[in-house]
């Protein structure tokens, strides 16, 4: 964060509890906040006058479970029970810790406009979640999923660079400020090209593979995905994040997700390290050990 922000931070400082309370109060009203790119006067700015987004940010809420509106349910993986479905054997031991909290969803208008075949694929993904969700295997999360996982991310913004480091899996995005041309290769995190439209940072992300998901509910896309993100700072500690999703192979029309992002205002907050590759070795390679440890 810039020295400008440091000067103003006292003015806007509040306790973490205060922020959490405000989250609870405003999260439902997030869509009503200004996203028109109009200038906000009380935000930190860089030497050239751009909104200064340096710092650690995180989405709060339950979009990482399911970006559509959803009820709480017992688990992500279920099996038929004698009366109603019950948690699958593999996740049973997690009990309430493995249950899915409810969420109002972040899709503007409510539901994702899937094409019929893609909707069937979503259902298949959901039913086969344990074996299909790339997050389970610690794969790179893709965009926009990376921005609303339950992990923070840190923005490094200078006059010539805009870089996002994610805690989850050590993922990162170097958001080019000059047009790099068409992506040379498909990738998990895509190729990002960012431009300022007034005070809104607009990022076009293309060059994806078809391996990433939007959440833990099986919402998916093809390699034709194009994501247009809009980062709009509404106060020193709040961003409104909006992403327009276009993928004519999967959806009948473009659609939008929108949610607030919150600055971690804790003094000395640091991005943690979650290099999870080694955490999933037993899951992925455990059956290839010389002496199996699985029962």
């Amino acid at each position: 964060m810039s020295s400008d922000f440091k000067l103003s931070r006292g003015k806007f400082s509040r306790s973490v509890l205060g922020t959490l309370l405000s989250v609870a109060l405003v999260s439902g009203a997030g869509c009503a906040q200004r996203t028109d790119g109009a200038q906000h006067t009380d935000i930190p700015r860089t030497a050239s006058g751009k909104p200064d987004m340096n710092g650690i940010w995180q989405a709060l809420g339950n979009a990482h479970w399911d970006i559509e509106p959803h009820l709480a349910r017992a688990a992500l993986a279920m099996q038929p029970g004698p009366v109603v479905p019950v948690p699958a054997e593999e996740v049973l031991a997690f009990g309430a810790v493995g249950a899915v909290p409810s969420g109002q969803g972040v899709v503007v208008g409510g539901l994702i406009p899937y094409l019929p075949e893609a909707l069937a694929k979503r259902q298949e993904n959901k039913e086969n979640w344990l074996h299909s969700d790339p997050e389970i295997k610690c794969y790179l999360p893709g965009v926009p999923r990376a921005n609303y996982m339950q992990f923070p991310f840190q923005i490094f913004q200078s006059e010539s660079k805009f870089f996002i480091a994610y805690e989850y899996a050590g993922a990162y995005r170097d958001i080019y400020l000059e047009d790099p041309g068409p992506p040379q290769v498909d990738s998990w995190m895509g190729q990002s090209f960012g431009q300022w439209e007034g005070d809104t940072f607009v990022v076009e992300v293309t060059g994806f593979n078809d391996q990433t998901w939007f959440d833990r509910a099986g919402n998916h896309h093809s390699a034709a995905l194009k994501v247009t993100e809009r980062y709009n700072m509404t106060s020193p500690d709040h961003l409104i994040y909006e992403a327009t999703i276009e993928d004519s192979e999967t959806f009948s029309r473009p659609w939008v997700i929108r949610m607030p992002l919150y600055r971690n205002i804790n003094v000395d907050s640091r991005l943690g390290q979650f290099k999870c590759v080694e955490f999933v070795e037993e899951l992925i390679y455990g059956h290839l050990r010389k002496h199996l440890i699985r029962k």
Partner: protein, 360 residues
């Protein structure tokens, strides 16, 4: 070394190699002759270190015995000529009618040995010796004076013996944890992400630096490892928090960025043969970044660890500007190598057991 190049990396390696051959790095002298260089600075007035950089070089970390610190022109020509010959020879088209490699490999070692792995087309280990302050260097280590990492202390030798004994409990293919960190897609080869940040002598020796008023971010292409260096007053992490790449903070001394790192992880230093340079929980690394021309950051480092080494040791590495994009190094996501290495070992064991059964 096994075959864990995902498709993206193959493309990148090809691209980098071709570019490297087509556009050799412009020498420092040439730049100075064409136009006077002015230090680029950020809005905070500090030297601007931002951009993409590479530390690929064929100068080894430790000095071959008998060599002087600075190479003669003949030695440079010999070393670079041999590398070029290797590149040229390895770049020849393969004979499509060649026989399969012998079962168990051809006895050679290295990435291209055994049963045939990468040829040089896929490798980007550099083709030039390191030139630091105008001197062609025989080693990256410059202190002690012999250019070699100092001997281990008695305690460190004992620790190495214990680690070695622990490793011998297992076969090298018994478990994923017995494989090198690079093969497991956890870190790059050697001390690539650092600190100290050293070449991996294989490929993708690329870094992206972003600089803000209160942070320096250094991303190492392999395996997308991000170092977040806080500027200003050090506020070390708790003793038990030891991230990969440690805990770094930095400050400016004039036009030089100084970075100090502690809290290096013990598992990085005790378990794995690929991990370099190895050290104790007391290890401290000090790095100095000085931009000296448009194409070069002079990178200096000192490793202090009296528990491990009988003296401190230091090195100097030129980081050269890389005027190319750095592509995603998605290693784990397509790590068929680790799967195949382990399943191959299990297949061999099954075959051996079957033969034994048949021999009864």
């Amino acid at each position: 070394m096994t075959f864990l190049i995902p498709r993206l990396i193959l493309l990148l390696c090809c691209g980098l190699l071709l570019l490297g051959l087509a556009f050799p790095v412009v020498s420092q002298t040439q730049v100075r002759e064409t136009k006077p260089w002015v230090m680029p600075r950020t809005s905070n007035g500090h030297p601007d270190l931002q951009g993409n950089w590479t530390n690929a070089t064929i100068t080894p970390i430790q000095r071959p015995r008998g060599r002087d610190r600075v190479l003669t022109p003949d030695q440079v020509a010999g070393i670079e000529g041999r590398r070029q010959n290797l590149i040229d020879a390895s770049g020849q088209p393969s004979d499509p009618d060649r026989e399969a490699p012998p079962v168990g490999g051809d006895g050679s070692t290295g990435a291209a040995g055994g049963v045939g792995g990468y040829n040089y087309f896929y490798i980007d280990a550099g083709d030039r010796v390191a030139i630091f302050n105008g001197e062609p260097r025989s080693s990256l280590v410059v202190a002690p004076e012999d250019g070699r990492i100092p001997p281990l202390t008695g305690a460190a030798r004992e620790a190495r013996r214990e680690a070695s004994a622990l490793r011998r409990v297992f076969g090298q293919y018994d478990n994923p944890e017995n494989r090198p960190l690079g093969e497991r897609c956890i870190k790059s080869f050697g001390s690539n992400a650092g600190p100290p940040m050293l070449p991996n002598y294989f490929y993708n020796n690329n870094y992206t630096i972003v600089q803000t008023a209160d942070h320096i971010m250094i991303m190492t292409e392999m395996v997308h490892d991000v170092r977040i260096i806080r500027l200003g007053e050090p506020k070390p992490l708790a003793e038990n928090i030891r991230p990969w790449m440690g805990d770094s903070w930095g400050w400016w001394e004039g036009d030089t960025l100084v970075v100090e790192t502690t809290n290096l992880p013990l598992r990085q230093v005790n378990g794995h043969r690929y991990v370099y340079p190895g050290g104790s929980e007391d290890m401290k690394v000090t790095e100095r970044f000085t931009r000296v021309d448009e194409q070069t950051i002079n990178y200096e480092f000192t490793v202090d660890d009296p528990t491990t080494y009988t003296s401190a040791w230091s090195g100097e590495v030129p980081f050269k500007a890389l005027d190319e994009l750095v592509y995603e190094y998605a290693c784990h996501e397509a790590n068929y190598s680790l799967f195949n290495v382990l399943s191959g070992a299990r297949a061999e064991e099954r075959e051996a057991a079957k033969k034994k059964e048949e021999g009864r």
